[in-house]
Symmetry: C2
Subunit: 375 residues, 2 copies
């Protein structure tokens, strides 16, 4: 499509008070954005459009706003995607209120691949982060694209896992304008996704990440996916909304179980009680996918987690090995504890931990705490 | 029944090579133990009883062994229970190989109440122990009787939880003679169950706890219960056999989920994948019970765990409170850490921990490690 052809679509997105559902209804009625903007006030009101929205459309003011928006879009290196275009995610088109227009930065072709969404707590435990990153990488290794909300916590781990995979991609779906980096701490991962994955929003440029945008955004996360994986979510978490939307849309819902004494396990355990599939490894997700999708996946030799761990341990040096054995995957250990428990000097411990981090088998958390990476 | 009336039943139990299944078949064919011992060799062999067993029965030698066994049974303060007697557990009678005779010490009336079985890992995590004890106490508080195998680990925690309840009882089911205390470390709990609960075995006095006895015992654990709760079980755990037998017998199977990175969570998580109900609190168990059973349960005011915790915290002293806040329910903390983190002197910490233990809100583990009790 020629850039100018998007002006009408952008104008719809910029019309105040016009949501995706009503915009969709009008598009079906009047054929194109131009058809809507050229419709009479009476025929617009005949579609039960609120009077203010009908007047805004009829005034054509949004069309001039859209010209400015288009210039910004182009300056940002962003492309637009209407629901008529072949790259538009086919599954998203099926929900009852698909966004007529998406803003996309990065690899637009990822949107038409098989997507699994992964969402969860913003303040996860180390266990949650490890599970999200591991599952996401394993699923991406099979060629699935991992979508998430680019939020703190599990979302970031899900994106990070997919980025660590060679074959897979990842899609970050925003609740703000595509030019707004929120939360700030995700800037680095945001840039990596721009480069290797795709970032998607239905909100106009510069839209502030207002709380009411997130449930709207969440319908895209579950709408475009074959299934939604929830990794840690407290009782009133937005991730549970995403999962419930997934159930409504007929998507598979997956949940990673956790200790019942941990508040962040409430959500996944509750979803499992309600029928979500319990997931402990990528196989549990792939098993539930339709046969034609499974046939397209990248076949892999399935090395069980324990064997991978044994392989790593074999290749550790004489100082690294006892240190590695002192670490856990769920609970981080403070460096002072490691010095005391290992009987090594603190400089030996620091050097060995540094090497283990470089090998990708140990991770440092804030406060000089260390974890085994879940293999 | 008069003690002497049990001699024939005991003789069946003492006949070498005669299992519960064949004994049951013969009882149905010949009416009574006496009928079996008076049967002709031909008619015994007509029942496809192995030749050696038929000869042993026909020789009537087991009857003289049984007289000695009866004396031992009486000396041990043990009572016998045949499957004809009203106290025999009705649900156990329904399985395909119920034991014709049970040895019982303690409150025999518990066997005809509504039973929930709870089994799990012999080497559980603190999380598993806490969940087992809490669930067992809560279910016993509702008037349910908790059966388990009197093994180390989760079994012991399940019995302990039920013993801590005022209204409920507990049944320990043995894979050895009822006069054999195994494992030795459970001696204290064994004695408590003799006094407040019931101990059950189908094995003759003095039977050694041979490995092959445990699967046989496990069918009683699941057979007599409305449902089986599994709390932690590694991949090849006997608890999974008990759960699978439960499924075969049409019992409800419940499992407590756990972090997928923890080997003891493999069993419960796997069972949930296969259709077991995920359980995080007693309500999840009670919900699945038949309506007539639920109608008989003790109604209780349902105080959520968080409120119980808040209530406890309100009533702590100025030194206890910060110390209590440093403890977790899943991971124990060493006393040295507590001294360091609290900034209190070690004598203050020790005194406060002692008080907290007396209040029943903190538990000490070996190695001066401390945990919050799960409320």
């Amino acid at each position: 499509m020629h850039p100018d052809d998007y002006v009408g679509w952008l104008a719809l997105a910029l019309t105040p008070g016009l949501g995706a559902r009503t915009a969709g209804k009008l598009l079906r009625e009047f054929g194109t954005p131009d058809g809507i903007f050229n419709a009479s006030l009476t025929s617009l009101e005949g579609q039960r459009v609120p009077a203010a929205v009908a007047q805004a459309l009829h005034s054509k003011r949004p069309l001039s706003d859209a010209a400015k928006e288009l210039a910004q879009v182009q300056a940002a290196g962003c492309r637009l995607l209407t629901w008529d275009e072949p790259e538009y995610p086919a599954r998203l088109r099926e929900i009852y209120d698909p966004p007529p227009l998406l803003y996309v930065i990065g690899k637009v072709e990822l949107l038409s691949k098989h997507v699994i969404s992964m969402v969860g707590a913003r303040r996860p435990t180390p266990y949650g982060n490890q599970m999200a990153e591991r599952l996401s990488k394993d699923l991406a290794d099979r060629g699935l694209v991992i979508a998430s909300g680019l939020a703190r916590g599990i979302d970031a781990s899900a994106h990070r896992g997919a980025l660590a995979s060679s074959s897979g991609g990842t899609i970050g779906i925003l609740g703000c304008g595509i030019d707004v980096v929120y939360p700030k701490e995700n800037k680095k991962i945001f840039q990596e996704i721009e480069q290797h994955g795709a970032i998607v929003s239905e909100f106009p440029m510069g839209t502030f990440p207002a709380p009411q945008n997130f449930p709207i955004r969440n319908r895209i996360i579950s709408g475009m996916a074959l299934g939604v994986v929830v990794v840690e979510a407290a009782q009133y978490s937005g991730s549970l909304i995403t999962a419930r939307l997934g159930m409504e849309f007929g998507r598979e819902v997956f949940a990673v179980p956790g200790n019942a004494t941990q508040p962040t396990s409430f959500g996944p355990n509750q979803l499992i009680k309600q029928g979500a599939k319990l997931v402990t490894s990528w196989e549990d997700v792939v098993e539930e996918l339709p046969t034609p999708v499974r046939a397209e996946l990248v076949p892999v030799e399935n090395i069980p987690s324990e064997e991978r761990a044994a392989l790593v341990e074999e290749n550790l040096g004489p100082i690294e090995r006892p240190l590695y054995a002192l670490l856990g995957v769920d609970e981080a250990r403070q460096i002072d504890d490691l010095v005391e428990l290992s009987g090594l000097s603190s400089s030996e411990v620091l050097a060995a931990l540094f090497d283990l981090e470089l090998k990708g088998v140990v991770r440092q958390l804030p406060g000089k705490q260390f974890l085994k990476v879940l293999l």
